[in-house]
Amino acid sequence: MLYLFGLVLGTGFAVSVAAFAGALGQARAVASAAEAIARQPEATGNIRTLLIIGLAFIESLTIYTLIIALFILGPRLPSTEAVMKLLAR
């Protein structure tokens, strides 16, 4: 029971922190891209390409955390009956 609790708590926190940090980084990237386009609208194509690639790089770090969470939680989650038995004690 403690094992399951620790597992879920750990992965929950991990994915939340990764999502928060990723969103922060991406927000800065988009903000600077918007500023750059506002300063020089004729470079929009280059800036847009750079923005998409940069966002993909930042996003992939968050996705790594999600994948690890899936690998940790995937085969270890108990079936509903086992959880009901645990809770009934």
Binding site: A56, E59, S60, I63, L66
Partner: protein, 257 residues
């Protein structure tokens, strides 16, 4: 490991062929597809056949002024060639078939999972890893071809000679981690979207539920539909990002030529 098969192509696993006798070769009765084959493989073959079919249908009558399917295909090809030329300069035209195929193949594979009864082959890590390895081998091959063996190695060392023992491992590890990151990015995004849609479908509320001849029936509220719209967007963006990164890696290793 038990492979779970759940798509319209499951009938392919039940087809048995044979027995055959070719000269002195005796083949016993065998299955067309072994049971341990993940269903990502027949599904990805289906995507490839679909692409080939669309291309064939669009090119049957070549008009000078295209219309209909031929027009759509020409627009797609022009767009992809423009993208390659944007990222790789003038020699982007030689890479346009590779990058264009990459984009269309990954796009169709991502979107296939949204059709009920099908599963995205990109939810299988082996598929994305295979594509990433193809990009990796292509990048190294074109790097050696354009720069020569020595120039290709000098690409990893940088220009300052006394920093080489520091820069070389960093560059090599960075180069080796690229296919891993490409594969994991595509796999993680598509699997995440599919999982969310599956969970939403499983917990969607059912109204007007009643027993009809002993079976519980009702009207499910489609709460998964907005998520499927987001999954279309994610599929397109991830295909584009994969292709853009492949083009950027190619441009990066050929910049010295």
């Amino acid at each position: 490991m038990e492979q779970a098969h759940g798509s319209w192509l499951d009938f392919l696993y039940l087809i048995k062929l044979g027995p055959f006798q070719v000269g002195s070769l005796h083949l016993p009765r065998f299955r067309l597809l072994p049971h341990w084959l993940p269903d990502a493989i027949p599904l990805s073959v289906l995507v490839a056949l679909l692409l080939a079919l669309i291309s064939y249908l669009g090119l049957r009558r070549r008009e000078r002024i295209p219309s209909g399917l031929q027009n759509a295909l020409e627009m797609a090809v022009e767009g992809l060639e423009g993208l390659s030329r944007n990222l790789l300069g003038e020699r982007g035209s030689t890479f346009a078939p590779f990058l264009g195929t990459l984009f269309l193949y990954i796009l169709l594979m991502n979107l296939l999972g949204l059709i009920p009864g099908f599963k995205s082959p990109t939810t299988n890590l082996n598929v994305t890893l295979g594509l990433a390895l193809i990009v990796f081998v292509a990048v190294q091959y074109y790097g050696i071809k354009e720069n020569g063996g020595l120039g290709y190695l000098k690409h990893f060392t940088g220009d300052i000679w006394w920093l080489v023992p520091l820069i070389l491992p960093v560059h090599v590890i960075g180069e080796l981690v690229r296919p891993v990151s490409l594969a994991l990015r595509l796999f993680g995004n598509v699997t995440g979207e599919e999982t969310v849609i599956a969970v939403l479908v499983a917990i969607s509320p059912v109204v007007f539920s009643h027993y009809l001849h002993g079976v519980l029936v009702g009207l499910p509220i489609p709460v998964a539909v907005p998520m499927m719209a987001l999954a279309i967007f994610t599929g397109v963006v991830q295909a584009l990002v994969f292709t853009l990164l492949a083009a950027a890696y190619l441009a990066g290793i050929m910049e010295h030529a």
